[in-house]
Subunit: 315 residues, 2 copies
């Protein structure tokens, strides 16, 4: 399963009651933060996600509303007594940004690792397989996709039939061959067919590109910027390299995203939910994001056995 929270849903500037767009994903006790504008640490504290588990921070681009919270978040991670490395991932230009962040933050008690990505890169991101796609903004930017793979089911009846002692099952489950008598038993012999994992797509500060529907194909959740709502602002959306509500929804539909959350609203958009109908035309089940919006994405059988994942606001 993956826990997801929107720490903020604003673009450009933090407002009283609306933090800057940022999301946090957690799975298996390991966390990934996406973007880190001013005030992101307050949301992490407020929604109870904690700092210690943050392994990786993905930056979509280097405008201050996506980066200026980094000194504070890194100091909060330090205060939470993390000593393992933290990896910062972003497009070209990362070195200069991290140098500035470290100048402001001062010495940190954990190693800070930088991973500058090119278009199309794949990379580890905590428990996820990350991939990056170039966006189309006024500065270099990346869209991200995070996949949580799922191991095939282990089939104990097959292991028994092959005479594998129970104490060797774990090795097979973890993908290691084992020796039974004079035979080698390979994991596929005792594992079921591949099972679909879970995936989250994240796009802020970009126009749509032709590559995006394939990049985000079939994600369980697409978190997508929707800076402007009113179709009368289409020209402005083009100029500023942002998306309209309707364009974000069309992208989600073209990607066959299972769920869609809109975020990164213009400060001038005082009530984003009022414009939901603009997105519903393209994607009827769209959710207009609000700060603190959370969900739990579950693997298929988990979801059947358990309550279905649903959007919720913390109490």
């Amino acid at each position: 399963m993956i826990e997801v929270v929107l720490l903020g849903t604003g673009g450009m500037m933090p407002l009283p009651g609306r933090w800057l767009a940022s999301a946090m994903l957690r799975s298996q006790g390991r966390a990934v933060l996406i973007d880190c504008g001013e005030g992101t640490q307050v949301g992490i504290r407020q929604y109870g996600f904690g700092f210690r588990a943050i392994e990786t921070i993905l930056l979509t681009h280097y405008h201050a509303d996506h980066t200026a919270g980094l000194p504070g978040v890194l100091l909060a991670i330090a205060f939470a007594e993390r000593t393992e490395p933290v990896t910062i991932v972003g497009p070209v230009g990362l070195g200069q940004v991290l140098q500035a962040v470290v100048t402001l933050a001062g010495p940190l008690p954990f190693p800070l690792e930088a991973r500058e990505l090119a278009d199309g890169a794949a990379f580890p991101a905590g428990p996820f397989l990350g991939s990056a796609l170039a966006g189309d903004h006024r500065v270099p930017c990346l869209a991200y996709r995070l996949d949580l793979p799922r191991a095939p089911r282990f089939l104990p009846e097959r292991a028994q039939a092959l005479g594998v002692p129970v104490e060797q099952w774990r090795a097979l489950q973890e993908g290691e061959p084992v020796v039974v008598g004079e035979q080698v038993v390979w994991p596929p012999a005792v594992l079921g067919p591949p099972r679909p994992g879970l995936s989250v797509g994240y796009l802020t500060d970009s126009r749509p590109t032709a590559q995006m529907p394939a990049f985000f194909a079939d994600v369980d959740l697409l978190i997508c910027e929707a800076t402007f709502a009113d179709p009368a602002q289409a020209e402005r959306a083009h100029q500023r390299k942002h998306l309209l509500f309707r364009e974000a929804a069309a992208l989600a539909r073209a990607s066959r995203a299972r769920r869609l959350w809109l975020t990164h609203f213009s400060p001038a958009l005082t009530d984003p939910a009022r414009w939901k109908h603009e997105a519903e035309q393209e994607y009827p089940t769209v959710v207009v994001g609000t700060d603190g919006l959370q969900t739990v994405l579950r693997f298929a059988e988990e979801a059947e056995a358990d309550a279905p994942g649903r959007e919720s606001l913390p109490g």
Copy 2:
């Protein structure tokens, strides 16, 4: 008069409901900001002080909880369409910090001027005469005093007696001599005695020093850090180079400060007001600061003619 607001009252990290310690002073439509931790721009917006008028930003020292809000505040000043210079003032090391801030903020549409101060420096700060005193912290830090001078009263009966035409009065009021017939009339001839101005002292992240009572002598308002409340934390206050409530109050008393606001509370201090008695022993009229605390300081005759300045929280 001087309008003063505490934009935040926290130390180390912003908390939900308590921003990082920062103050803003405004007089004659010109504003000075003191310290700028993460979230300071939210307070400025929330308490209605505006960005356009910010001429000078004073930094007490370069820990992130006092500087990391600078990229956001500078971008907000830009968004408010200021084109006149903004001056950033601080102790040794300012250049490196500003370089980091500008890297994160990106290009700004107004000139950014750096004024690195040594102990004892005097400097202009918007409408105020600023002065700086070295503090005693783990890194170089400065205490600040801002004085708003008051012009002597203009005495029209003397100007009339000396035969100065009314159209020349303004020049005299502004300190310029005027020629009347064959005589030069100098301003002191038509002005009353010197009148006391207004002054605000600001100290965060420092132990007290022997120089401080003279530096803050007779200020109308002292805004003073009080990181720790419990006397049992005296040792910690020494080690971390901070003040106890009682020490802040003793400093205000020794300085003959007319009013005292405490600020910069440890995140562990969940209810600072509960410890007010600790400060009252030394300074009975102490105010334990809260985010958004505001007052208007008035010149003596203004205060008599008008309602007295008083602490207030915005509605």
